[in-house]
Symmetry: C2
Subunit: 336 residues, 2 copies
Amino acid sequence: MENTPRVTLNIQAVAEAAGVSKTTVSHVLSGNRPVSAATRRKVERVMDDLDYRPNFFAQALNSNKSQTVALIAQDITNPFYPALARGLQSSVAEANQVVMLFDAGAGASLTSAFVDEAIQRRVDGVVVAVSNVEDELLRLQRAGIAVVAVGSGLSGLPIDWVSADDELIGTDATRHLFERGYRRIATISGPPASEPGGGRLAGYVKAVNAFGETPDPALCEVADWTREGGEAALYRLLDQDDPPRAVFCANDLMAIGAMDAALESGLRVPQDLAIVGVDDIDAAGLVRPALSTIRVPAEEIGRAAGELLLHRIADGSARSHRHVLVQHKLIARHSA
Amino acid sequence: MENTPRVTLNIQAVAEAAGVSKTTVSHVLSGNRPVSAATRRKVERVMDDLDYRPNFFAQALNSNKSQTVALIAQDITNPFYPALARGLQSSVAEANQVVMLFDAGAGASLTSAFVDEAIQRRVDGVVVAVSNVEDELLRLQRAGIAVVAVGSGLSGLPIDWVSADDELIGTDATRHLFERGYRRIATISGPPASEPGGGRLAGYVKAVNAFGETPDPALCEVADWTREGGEAALYRLLDQDDPPRAVFCANDLMAIGAMDAALESGLRVPQDLAIVGVDDIDAAGLVRPALSTIRVPAEEIGRAAGELLLHRIADGSARSHRHVLVQHKLIARHSA
DNA sequence: CTGAAAGCGCTTACAG
DNA sequence: CTGAAAGCGCTTACAG
């Protein structure tokens, strides 16, 4: 009986066609040991002819490396995250890593399932861009997976992380309003005790103090990061006896909502009410008046996260944990 | 000499701890053959205690399935694609598939490298949301990978695809302007011979004819999908002896650019110039006046692509190729 | 410079 | 209902 003809194109088939051993084919592939020029040429020729590609799973099984990093994103439809994804892809690509996307769909509830999936699939690393999931970060770490967190408020953890300086963002935005001559500056921040909201609020308070005023609780409103929330919050602020003349909103969507409320109330922006946001989403430059805001460099954050991840993948046992602080930038347009 | 203690937690370790064979552990895992209740319980207990998870690469090597689908996206920072990604994730998740993201970064030049990577990694399927890459679609197919294309103009190919009805979009948008009483309706379309621009332009021409007018080449401008391009195109249109009173723009960004130019020229929108766009990006509802536009349901496109892909993965050899046409929807705001 | 063989961690005919 | 063994397609000590 003859052997049944081989159907899959594997390293054995290449070896036979080239008249060498599997070992040699493997070494031509990997470059892990010298191969004579003649043999190498012959093998490469055969590989080309057959259009052979090594089986990725077999390689992964041997090396225990998936050459894949996961990105767990809070909400991929929020423009911040696609930009982060692009930066991440661009920085890990050179190490031959590919990005697996997990979109938590605006909720953090899926994060735990995604972490399971990432562990199960033995990804080399994970970038977690979801807030308040410290447990999951540690769980990934215990599973032996490189982890980088994105966001504020992680300084206590033994984890590499990337963030903008949220407190300084709050201070810079508020200071900008003071410097333009505005007083009675209000703020609309994110839900309490959540990042990056907490830091931005703290920065606002710091700036108010720095300009010799006393922070007034009546000027500190809270909303939920949405346009509608910002709109409602501004109406509450305007409803006071001595309404504010300027407002620092902790993100652009709330700032745009505040602008809606201001214009709707017959106020001119910025003459009657100045507004500053944070993020510099596309819409910031599209609304009228164009929104002054603080740009958080999402793509750069993604790139930095990728670089930290590659380091950690290369040396998982490094004792010290790094923190990259990216630079934000005031974009002064017409709303303040 | 004793065996050195096993370090990795594999199926053998579980088998030993449970006092059964690897075969049985494997079958408890897969459910591929009956296992007595007692044995099953014992094995499951051990798996829990050890926190055992089967090695994904070994499983993939056996099954030749990566349980991974790739999304090759033209430009992940364009809000259309994140929404598509979300829809794709949601529909393939139930089949235990995960999404690998390839962002072409606004250029199609990377597509070929991404296709190589997808083939190399033996993904189960690929959604290609990049235009004018027919060769790559066929290359994936030849590699035995399930493929779904997103976009117009693919009706000739033996490929499953999802699209909006771009011609009808052009017709509906233009008809809306006619029905509101506007005449001398211009259009700003995308680069010639590119999809989805071609279809939308054809739809415009059809509507103009349907209302008994003769399409006027002087009213057909071309731009490059950007805000700046739309702005410049509208200035060219306004520069004529008998300028248009309304304009259909083939996407929202160009429409917003046109709005810039109109307002800058002292025209009132929509009284002096009515504008309709396509896409319904976030900014459409944020500009003032709010932009009337045609919503293309990106998330639904992603979901449909995922479903086609799952079908094709399950039955790669199905002879017939499917086409899903998603419904667009006119969103009448204030610009027309 | 090259090869035979063991091993990575699973699955699955085959046998009982 | 259960197990021993071959096999998936690679890599890599070991040997020459």
